[in-house]
Symmetry: D2
Subunit: 319 residues, 4 copies
């Protein structure tokens, strides 16, 4: 597989917009970027803001995107949107001639939808000139998307001959590019990681609140945990207590970061996947209850997920 | 406060024995070490094994220990034992003349008992020549105790003039010595840290099992998590899946490490403390249920706490 | 307070429609019923189907309903809808002259919204001829609504002089009419009851599954529980296992009954209320996690809440 | 099977003592009762207090009991005790000649131990004159034991020809005698029932506290629940709020009733059984956490399990 020369992008939301922008900035100036989104305003704004970096053209349908580009990225909210984009008769990606093309879905969705699309791609693939589809969800949030420092977890084997091309492409928008072993395993890794991180965020929020109420200074305690058994990314990078990590959303009014309703969505997807493979989830159901309750409350919705600390009634040091 | 010249040790169990041994090895050869334990066999063995390093003498009671040494360490299982050792009329530490002496309790116990002892020490303290009592629980397990790499969380302020002496003494048995701010805050830090670590161990066990059942290679996934939001000590140092961390108890049949019933005890102590200060615990109650259920089962009891992975029905890679 | 002669109804959904129909059938033939709903089709159908029982007239706005009737019932999905119906400037109920009128909200909503509306009613109430507002949520589902056997939990004191009129009116649509003590306490009772019933449904589902897997016959076991400590409405009336209660939704493919997403909504409202009054909820968060996970799954959504039994992987006897 | 003429009783604890007393009172005066317990004082007291009702003789070992009686009851705390009593070489029941005898274990223990004993009995049983062993755990507590109103859940089929004799015997000590279908199913029913009742007690405690904090009168609310979906034995018979059920332990300082540590034990046994048959337990683990935490606290230990209401911080009406 060689590097594609024409590109398509479907989905210009909070994540997709900055990712597509980084793509446009870093692909050759003379290559074309086809874009499509249900929100025409986003498309128009994108064309306006990106055209200094190269040619950007609106495509009327997902099929049109796929028809005119050799590599298509998709970044949409849910499994049903991915299925719509790929499978809608007449206007979906698979209604185009995709022989030899590369289709990369960066959405975080349920495995079933991704596997369904992967199989449809395979079934429609031309003999001798296959279409390739990869799940490549990201972590790093809107900040990582803007700074092109996203981590990609990719549903491909490390020794797959196509991986080098994928890595080169994804590196235009991210930092670490992890091959997770095979089809759908990018999603599997994303969901399993977020399942754990959502719970570690909550355990750390509970334990920090306990510590502070017992009289400990949050920064001193967090610092000790960095080299103790309670240590984690949730403690040292995204500590839920305001002021402990100055750069974390908790220190900025829980703005930025990863929205709590998206955390709830990911925990839900992980639990659904767990049921399918008969993996026992215990803490996760309690955690889902907490994220669900907090997400419904207008004071917490749209804030960084670590606002569960406030939901818990955590003591907030003055900043 | 100057460095004490005579030492006492009460409690020669799984942790206390190797700690006292390191103490004996590192204090001046000509200083005396008084020892006491309810288990006479342990005392005799200790004297036999330690006498090459200096003078070790059995004391009949805790009072006798305190009478004859200027610094006494205690390391016993539960709050009631600490209270017995200090407060028993006639034979307890406080029945001795402890003016100017240093009493250091390394046990992990409930705060209420520690505070009760601290107040009794204060009440019995001589004017102008006070007795000093500090809570200084440890983490690091029996391995840390043996290697003198324990972490101490000490109930003292960083700028307390007595801290340098405490640090010098505890460094004979450990690595990091953390002043946590004041009386009882060593215990507060220990319990809060273990509360979080017990939950992170369980969340990681659940998420690893999910990942493996979804098809991921445990080492590859764990490695990706090291730089992702799911990362933690529970992932990178004490991963619950056999084979992921070759040095972890999980890779050695869950032998060594921190016994699951002790993890249960610590979570229980943390939850009890949380009730006292009105800190909401959510995941902790579910976690306590799991550790409680697993601790009762003879297949898991006495094994490292990370055996919750097996309790969950986690898939175990062949080693 | 005397019985009103003209009536208004706002909200002709799954519950409101049959309730309003029973009202129309049972109020005097010559009294008028004003109706309003955002769904014009529902209004037209209602007028078509009810006009044989007496006069029914569409009102363009909630204000028009209130202007032309001395008693207005509201039955809408959420707190924000109730607030819209009452408080929208110009077109809401409180834009009308409501002096001396009776306003009864049967919706199951969050307390905060209900209290906000109650206070707005009070503030706008005429001196000497007050407007009266009561929260009167129902239980009994669409079947109870159709058969006029609903249970009403009313936010009024048992000895309030207005209660007899309220009781007479509500009895047109229901069976038991419970005065719960005062304003907002109808909702408090509804949410507290549903909180408990949602958990008992789940505990019974879990325990029945355990019993069946251990070899017990579900009917025999359920029967024994009827006189044992495990007994409950969840066991004897709405048993989650197919075939145990022939009339329960579980025996009819989980059709009918109380939709699982509404159960989730009520548990969420109860937990939110609990946070406000500092009531500890423990099981509820785990329960919310389960109902949340199951509600998201298309196989369970829109089914009776007792389908959590299937979500749990419960063994289903052949019917 | 005909009614036995000589009886044996092993285990004279809080439950066994009054049960054996009722047995002695109701069997023919001229029949003998052999008794055995590890606590000699209990045996002596029993003989002193019961001898007015007929002959009672101490037996030195379980084997001696079984040797001299045609029907033996056992009532001991845990599975390991049952195994000791039956299987200890030389002194256990099975060391006696038990051909044709009836062995009834009323203990609430883990299924594995019961099945192990059942199989050992079967293996040692004489051809043509079998020994019979039944699990027959009880519910009803010490009060039911004293009043001979216990409910028995018996591991036997309803149409088993031996059931009439069993029923007649157990009716000497209880009220309802339920044949649960076959060997070990008495225990299965007991554990499943207690699993559910422990959770319903907790859900009711949480919901009652919520209701009271929202302003509801506990008796009024409890009364409404009796005919609503939140209704249960936990509400109407053993309501956890003081004053709601005047006869319940909660109204008597949580004295009497079912000790919280025994509730914890039963939930633990149920969860262990659930793991064996792959029944998903969700609420149960959170519930076990609560009962475990509360059982460890000296303020709650030895009190009726419904004291979880106080553990939750429930508001207690003045009695």
């Amino acid at each position: 597989m060689t590097l594609p020369q024409s590109f398509g992008w479907i989905g210009l939301g909070a994540m997709g917009y900055p990712m597509a922008m980084n793509l446009r900035k870093r692909i050759p100036t003379d290559s074309i970027l086809l874009v499509n989104d249900v929100d025409r305003t986003a498309v128009e704004r994108f064309i306006r803001e990106s055209s200094e970096f190269g040619r950007v053209v609106e495509a009327a349908t997902a099929r049109d995107v796929a028809e005119q580009s050799s590599c298509v990225f998709t970044m949409v909210p849910e499994g049903r949107h991915v299925k719509d984009v790929f499978l809608t008769p007449g206007t979906g990606i698979l209604a185009a001639n995709t022989a030899g093309k590369l289709l990369i879905d960066c959405s975080t969705i349920d495995r079933a939808s991704s596997i369904e699309v992967a199989e449809a791609v395979k079934a429609s693939s031309a003999v001798g000139n296959p279409t390739r589809f990869y799940d490549a969800p990201v972590s790093g949030g809107t900040l990582g998307a803007a700074k092109a420092t996203l981590t990609f977890m990719v549903g491909i084997a490390a020794d797959d001959p196509n991986f080098p091309v994928l890595r080169e492409l994804l590196a235009l928008m991210g930092g670490a590019i992890h091959p997770m072993g095979g089809q759908s395993l990018g999603l599997a890794a994303k969901l399993s990681n977020n399942y754990i991180s959502s719970l570690n965020a909550l355990s750390t929020a509970e334990g920090m609140n306990l510590a502070i109420r017992l009289g400990l200074d949050p920064k001193v305690f967090s610092n000790v945990m960095k080299t103790s058994s309670g240590g984690s990314y949730a403690n040292s990078v995204y500590n839920p207590v305001p002021g402990v990590c100055p750069e974390a959303p908790s220190s900025k009014g829980y703005e930025g970061g990863f929205k709590i309703q998206l955390m709830k969505k990911d925990v839900g997807l992980a639990i659904d996947a767990a049921r399918q493979v008969d993996a026992k989830v215990v803490l996760g159901l309690t955690g889902l209850g907490v994220y669900s309750a907090a997400s419904e409350d207008p004071r917490f919705r749209d804030k960084d997920a670590r606002i569960v600390y406030r939901w818990l009634g955590g003591i907030e040091p003055k900043l």
